[in-house]
Symmetry: C2
Subunit: 316 residues, 2 copies
Amino acid sequence: MAEFALIDLIRKRCAILRADVALGIGDDAALLAVPSGQLLAVSTDTLVAGVHFLHGADARDVGWKSLAVNLSDMAATGAEPAWATLALTLPGADARWVEPFADGFADLARLHRVALVGGDTTQGPLSITVTIHGFVAEGAALTRSGARAGDGVYVTGTLGDAAAGLRMVLSKQAGNAHLLERLHRPTPRVAQGLVLRGRATACIDVSDGLVADLGHICTASRVGAAIDADALPASPALLAAFDIPDRRELQLAGGDDYELCFTAPDEVAPGLLRELHDSGCAATRIGRVVAGSGVRVRDASGNPVAIAHRGWEHFA
Amino acid sequence: MAEFALIDLIRKRCAILRADVALGIGDDAALLAVPSGQLLAVSTDTLVAGVHFLHGADARDVGWKSLAVNLSDMAATGAEPAWATLALTLPGADARWVEPFADGFADLARLHRVALVGGDTTQGPLSITVTIHGFVAEGAALTRSGARAGDGVYVTGTLGDAAAGLRMVLSKQAGNAHLLERLHRPTPRVAQGLVLRGRATACIDVSDGLVADLGHICTASRVGAAIDADALPASPALLAAFDIPDRRELQLAGGDDYELCFTAPDEVAPGLLRELHDSGCAATRIGRVVAGSGVRVRDASGNPVAIAHRGWEHFA
């Protein structure tokens, strides 16, 4: 398959009509209309074979996940996603890989009405860079820097599932279907981000691990956080498969959950929690924002919880 | 160097203040204000080590070129560049490579007042994906699809220099400084794109080779083009280093020139050519748009000119 056949294949499978796309794939640049009064939110994430997914991973899952990790950044910003570009570097133009990849990307794009508006295909070691674009009203965007001492700390969904799934894959254990699904097809919490915008004081998506990502909120907000390890929401599958020490490690330091961790003052919390529940993904209070710096973790009895590592970092 | 030190290094070296950046590097998404009445122009290009530049290439040149190829897409659209994201995949976090890379990127970013607003750093085989954003008034954007039979075909600057430089590098000849500069530090014709907007009928940047790229205009516009090989503008360095057959091959099929190829009706041409000259980069008429399809090349005597290949294509 030649380069232009490849682009055509991807374009056809990812075709989503949006009135705000004045010019889509196929020219030197896409031309797009941002609604007046809205800021443009932009984020970029790369997945590299052998680093972010295993060589030989299911192409459809890779397509899904390459968009999911980017949509998760829109969620964490409280932005409404609209457009994506796709830079795809492939060892060869193999339709048996590209077709399911494009289908997986399109599966998720359709759910969120994200139009693929451009990109680049190049030959080289397999990697995927998506740049996602969305809108958010000025003043309503969620950032990492607004947490205040006294706010509650919350997380959507459950933590640790993806890291548990990865551990199963790497140790070649028979994988639990729920945990593997959470690893390979994460659900970006876009609807929940929209509920939180203008109301949560800070927000981040949990991609590197709870302690690491909440640590980014603490640094940006110049506060600390106190977390109750026994309050961390866990899926039945995680509870069944791992004992407390392993589970805590997975929940506190495991990456790839793509849940939202946010802070909110107590007076807005009940309404927020009700609306999040109604949006299809409940949130759980896991601690509070305190004066100082850094993330401290204790169990329900108040004993410090040690974790072996604090989260994923490249080049560490 | 750890990932966050790396990001900090890049951020510091590429700091450019723009009032339309509400939130830059360091959160889950950048927040940006597109001027009202303007469309957002977006384009993405990837450079892969060993494909788009040689392993061991000067890092400062790679930084420059990774932005230049993207700015060239803004030029071809007639858009005013504003913001970029940078997805950088590196085998290791080596400051001796990243510092000059960031400096090369910043050298060109400063010339065009492009703010680096976000990105991603990951570990893996060396590659760089930049997504560039700019503005263009609705209706004024240059596309590939407006060429009409009878229009003249024009190109800015000179053709073939970059391909000549690459040939020298690959054959380990002593390189001519001008030709190597054109290969390693291409000049995106942003100012010329702004002159052309709303006036040229079609435009593309010459990245894959003149015949291939003009062919894209022909396909999108449903026209053909007749080119005079003897009219192609050549630099003194190219004229001195290559005889006619080689020179024609380099000028017709060589990529990486990043000149603009555009079409315009005769009545607007004199004014356009004068303004392009005044902008610092003159354009040359190289042929005309004809009914039909495809790009035909003849010499000044009317004899057909054969070329061995038609331009760069991945996976070909």
